[in-house]
C-alpha cells in the first residue's frame, strides 16, 4: 500500500462492523491479485481461466447459501445487493400493479433508505414493529400481506443487537401467498446456518473474514427484477461491470472456510461472549442485554449500561475496538434506530455498547477486555 502506514493494534471487538481477513483467504486471492490482466469476460485464454476461478467461487458462495450457483449475482457488497433486491423487485412488480413492500423497523439503512426511495416513487411501505427482543413473528408478516404486496424484506440477523429472525417460517408465510421474500443476511452468512428459504438473499464477504468490496445477491430462478446498473450484460444482465476476480475468489474461499468450521466456531465464540457478559454483569449489575438472549448471533453483545456514556467509555479504552452503534451510522448524529425500535429512550441508547467477537478473538483478549471494561465501568459508576 502507498506509504505503508502502520496499522494500529487493538483488540478487535467490532466484528459486526467488519472482520479481519483470514490468511487463507488472502492466499487464495494472491495469484489473482498478481495475475496478468485477466478479465473474466475477455474471450482469450487468460480470460477463460479467470472465468473458471469466478465460477468456482460462485459455487462456493452458493453452497453456503444452499442455492444453485446460477442464482448468485455478484455485487460490490451487501448495500448494493439490498438496493438491487428492494428497488429491482419493487420496480419490476409495479408493472403488475403490486406496490406494497413489507419490512421491519430494525433493518439496515441499506434496506430502509431504498424503501424511502420507493415510497417517493409511489410504493406503500409498511414497517412492522418488532417485539422486545427485536423478534419478528411470521404471523405478523402474514397478517400484513395483501394481494398488492410486491416484496417482504426481513433481515436474517440484526447488525446491532444480533437478533436472529425466524426467516424459514417467514419465508413459508410468504410462499403461501406467492410473495417474494428477501432477507439481508450480511450478518448471518457464515455465522449461523442460513435456512436456504428466502427467494432473495443479500450477503457480503467482509463480514465473514473475506475482502471488502464484494457481495452477492441470491435471486431464486423465476424471480423477476430490474437491474440497478446498465452496461455490458455481465451477471445475466442483472449486474453489469467487470467482476473483480480476486475479490470473488476471496469471497468463495471465505465462504468455504466458514461453512467448514461454522458449528465449532460458533460454539467457541458463543462461550467467549457468555464469559464476557458474565464479567460485565458483575461489574455493572444494572446492565441490560438488548436483543433476544437465545436467538442471537454467537459473537454479538449489545448492552445498555445505565448512567454510562458509551462514547466516553470507548474513548477511555483506546485498546479496544468497540462500537456504540452501527459503523455506517457513526458519521451521523442521533441514537440508534434499532434500539429506539426496541423501546429504549435516546438516553438509554446513548448508554449502549455493541461488542462483536469473531474467529480470531482469543480467550486472552476477551479476558483483557473484560478486565479493562470492568475497571472502567466501576470508575464510571463510582460517583453515583
Amino acid at each position: 500500500m502507498s506509504g505503508g502506514a502502520p496499522i494500529p493494534l487493538a483488540i478487535h471487538l467490532d466484528h459486526q462492523a467488519t472482520t479481519p481477513i483470514d490468511p487463507r483467504v488472502l492466499d487464495a486471492m494472491d495469484p489473482w491479485l498478481r495475475a496478468p490482466a485477466a478479465n473474466p469476460h475477455a474471450r482469450n485464454p487468460l480470460g477463460y481461466r479467470a472465468a473458471e476461478a469466478l465460477e468456482k467461487a460462485r459455487a462456493q458462495v452458493a453452497a453456503l447459501l444452499g442455492a444453485n450457483p446460477l442464482e448468485i449475482i455478484w455485487t460490490s457488497g451487501a448495500t448494493e445487493a439490498n438496493n438491487l433486491a428492494l428497488k429491482g423487485i419493487a420496480r419490476a412488480a409495479r408493472a403488475q400493479g403490486r406496490d406494497h413492500v413489507v419490512t421491519t423497523a430494525i433493518e439496515h439503512p441499506s434496506v430502509l433508505e431504498p424503501c424511502r426511495r420507493l415510497e417517493s416513487e409511489g410504493c406503500r411501505i409498511e414497517m412492522l414493529p418488532v417485539g422486545t427482543g427485536g423478534l419478528m413473528t411470521p404471523d405478523a408478516v402474514a397478517a400484513a400481506l395483501t394481494p398488492r404486496t410486491a416484496l417482504v424484506s426481513v433481515m436474517a440477523a440484526n447488525n446491532e443487537i444480533g437478533t436472529l429472525q425466524p426467516i424459514a417460517a417467514i419465508a413459508e408465510a410468504c410462499r403461501d401467498r406467492d410473495v417474494p421474500f428477501h432477507t439481508d443476511a450480511a450478518q448471518a452468512f457464515g455465522r449461523v446456518p442460513l435456512e436456504g428459504a428466502a427467494d432473495l438473499v443479500s450477503v457480503c464477504a467482509h463480514k465473514l473474514h473475506g475482502p471488502p468490496g464484494i457481495g452477492a445477491l441470491r435471486v431464486r430462478r423465476g424471480i423477476a427484477l430490474e437491474p440497478l446498473l446498465e452496461g455490458g450484460g455481465q451477471e445475466r444482465g442483472l449486474r453489469p461491470g467487470t467482476v473483480p476476480v480476486a475479490l470473488a475468489v476471496g469471497f468463495g474461499a471465505a465462504a468455504a472456510i466458514a461453512g467448514a468450521q461454522m458449528a465449532e466456531e460458533g460454539r467457541r465464540i458463543a462461550a467467549l461472549r457468555d464469559f464476557l457478559l458474565t464479567r460485565l454483569r458483575a461489574a455493572c449489575p444494572e446492565l441490560r442485554l438488548n436483543g433476544d438472549a437465545v436467538r442471537r448471533l454467537p459473537g454479538n453483545l449489545n448492552v445498555t449500561l445505565p448512567g454510562v456514556d458509551a462514547e466516553a467509555l470507548m474513548l477511555a479504552l483506546p485498546e479496544l475496538a468497540l462500537a456504540s452503534g452501527a459503523a455506517c451510522a457513526s458519521g451521523r448524529p442521533g441514537p440508534s434506530h434499532v434500539l429506539l425500535a426496541l423501546g429504549l429512550g435516546p438516553e438509554e441508547a446513548a448508554s449502549s455498547l455493541r461488542i462483536g467477537i469473531g474467529r480470531f478473538t482469543t480467550r486472552a483478549e476477551v479476558e483483557r477486555a473484560a478486565d479493562l471494561l470492568s475497571d472502567a465501568l466501576r470508575s464510571f459508576t463510582a460517583g453515583r
Binding site: 500500500m1 505503508g4 502506514a5 496499522i7 494500529p8 487493538a10 478487535h12 467490532d14 462492523a17 472482520t19 481477513i21 488472502l26 486471492m29 494472491d30 491479485l33 496478468p36 490482466a37 478479465n39 469476460h41 475477455a42 474471450r43 482469450n44 485464454p45 487468460l46 472465468a51 460490490s76 448495500t79 448494493e80 439490498n82 438496493n83 439496515h108 439503512p109 441499506s110 434496506v111 433508505e113 424511502r116 457480503c204 475482502p211 471488502p212 468490496g213 440497478l228 446498473l229 446498465e230 452496461g231 455490458g232 453489469p240 461491470g241 467487470t242 473483480p244 480476486a246 475479490l247 470507548m314 483506546p318 479496544l320 475496538a321 468497540l322 462500537a323 459503523a327 455506517c328 457513526s330
Partner: protein, 348 residues
C-alpha cells in the same frame, strides 16, 4: 494493497482501527484526485467504471435529455436508452457541428456523455471542445475517462467536464473499484442508498484494499504518462511493420489522435475470433472487440459507427501494449500476424 487487506477496520467506525482504514481511504482519494485533476472532496469511490457511469447518468442526468456519442462504452449506451446517439466520422471522432445543432434543437436541459479515449480504437475525443459547446447550451458534460487515465493527462477543469469516470483495473489497479469525480458543487442523486458513505454520494462499506490499490495505481499511472512516447514508438513500429508486410492493412482510428498503446487492426477475411485463438497459440493475448460482451459474439458498435461494413468489422482485433511490452514482443506479434495471414490466404 496486501497490507491494506489486513487492515481490520471499517472506515466508518470511530475506533483506532476504523480511523486507520479511513486514513488509508483518504490517502488514496487524494492520489486519485491528482490523477483526475479534481478536488478530493468531490471524488466518490464506486465498484468500478460501470457503476460510475451509471451514477453519473442517473444521478446528474435525471430530468435531462441524455446525449451520448455512438462509440461510448455499453455502460453509457445502456444507461441512456432513450438518448440520441451522436455520430462520429470515419476516424471515430465526434462531429462537433452535429453536437452543436442537436443541443440547439433540444428542449430543456441535457447531459452530454463523451468518452475521452475509446476502448476499442484508442481514439481521443475532443472533450474540451464538446464541453464548451455543451455549456454554451446549458448542458452538463460527463466524460468516461476509464481508458484515458495514465495515457493522457487528465484535468477536470481543462476538460470542462462536470463528471468524470475512472476505473482502477484499467490502470493496473485491482478490479472492483472505480471513481466518479465531480465538479465541486454539482448536485448528484445517489444510486445506492443506505449508510451515508462517500458523503452520501454512494453507500456501502468502502472496499479499503481496492481503494488503496487504486490510489497506488493512480500514482504509478501518473508516472506512466512520461513513457507514452516510448509506447507510441512501439505501436508505430508494429503498425509500420504490418503495413509493410501487407499494404492496405486497415488500422482503424489511425487517422485521428490516439493514445499510444492501442492498435485496432483488420485482417481481411479472417474473423476476429480466429485471430484471437491463433495469437493465443503463439502466446499473445489480443482481444476481439471489447471484453464486456462476454460470450456473445456481436459486431463492434464502435467500428459500425465509423461506417465500417459488418464483414470488415468482424475481422478486427485490438492489440493493447502494456508498460512492459518490448520491441522483441512487437516483432513476435508481427511474425505471428504475418504467418496467420499467409496461412489463411493459402487456404482461401
Amino acid at each position: 494493497m496486501a497490507a491494506a487487506l489486513d487492515l481490520v477496520g471499517n472506515p466508518s467506525s470511530v475506533h483506532a482501527e476504523g480511523r486507520a482504514a479511513r486514513a488509508a481511504v483518504e490517502g488514496a482519494r487524494a492520489a486519485v484526485a491528482v490523477l483526475a485533476g479534481a478536488d478530493p472532496a468531490w471524488i466518490a469511490f464506486t465498484s468500478g467504471g460501470t457503476e460510475a457511469n451509471n451514477l453519473a447518468l442517473a444521478g446528474a442526468g435525471s430530468g435531462r435529455r441524455i446525449l451520448a456519442s455512438a462509440v461510448e462504452h455499453d455502460s453509457v449506451l445502456q444507461a441512456a436508452p432513450d438518448g440520441a446517439l451522436l455520430p462520429v466520422d470515419r476516424h471515430g471522432v465526434l462531429d462537433l457541428g452535429t453536437l452543436d445543432r442537436v443541443l440547439a434543437a433540444t428542449e430543456g436541459p441535457a447531459l452530454v456523455s463523451l468518452m475521452l479515449v475509446n476502448n476499442e480504437t484508442g481514439v481521443i475525443q475532443p472533450v474540451a471542445e464538446a464541453a464548451a459547446i455543451a455549456h454554451r447550451h446549458g448542458a452538463l458534460l460527463h466524460c468516461d475517462a476509464v481508458q484515458a487515465a495514465g495515457r493522457v493527462p487528465l484535468d477536470l477543469d481543462a476538460l470542462g467536464a462536470d463528471l468524470l469516470t475512472l476505473s482502477a483495473h484499467k490502470i493496473g489497479g485491482p478490479k472492483g473499484v472505480g471513481a466518479l469525480a465531480l465538479r465541486p458543487g454539482l448536485a448528484l442523486s445517489p444510486l445506492l442508498r443506505g449508510g451515508g458513505q462517500e458523503r452520501r454520494m454512494r453507500a456501502g462499506t468502502e472496499n479499503v484494499a481496492g481503494i488503496v490499490g487504486f490510489g497506488r495505481a493512480a500514482e504509478l499511472a501518473l508516472a506512466e504518462l512520461d513513457r507514452q512516447h516510448a509506447v507510441a514508438a512501439l505501436r508505430d513500429r508494429l503498425e509500420a511493420a504490418l503495413s509493410a508486410r501487407a499494404p492496405g492493412t486497415p488500422l482503424h482510428g489511425a487517422g485521428a489522435p490516439r493514445v499510444a498503446n492501442t492498435s485496432c487492426v483488420g485482417m481481411a477475411g479472417v474473423p476476429s475470433e480466429v485471430q484471437v485463438m491463433a495469437f493465443d497459440l503463439a502466446g499473445i493475448a489480443v482481444s476481439a472487440g471489447s471484453a464486456c460482451s462476454s460470450g456473445k459474439v456481436k459486431p463492434s458498435h464502435v467500428l459500425a459507427a465509423m461506417g465500417l461494413p459488418a464483414a470488415e468489422a468482424a475481422c478486427a482485433v485490438r492489440i493493447s501494449l502494456g508498460p512492459g511490452t518490448t520491441e522483441a514482443e512487437i516483432d513476435r506479434i508481427v511474425e505471428a500476424w504475418t504467418a496467420l495471414r499467409a496461412r489463411r490466404s493459402a487456404a482461401a
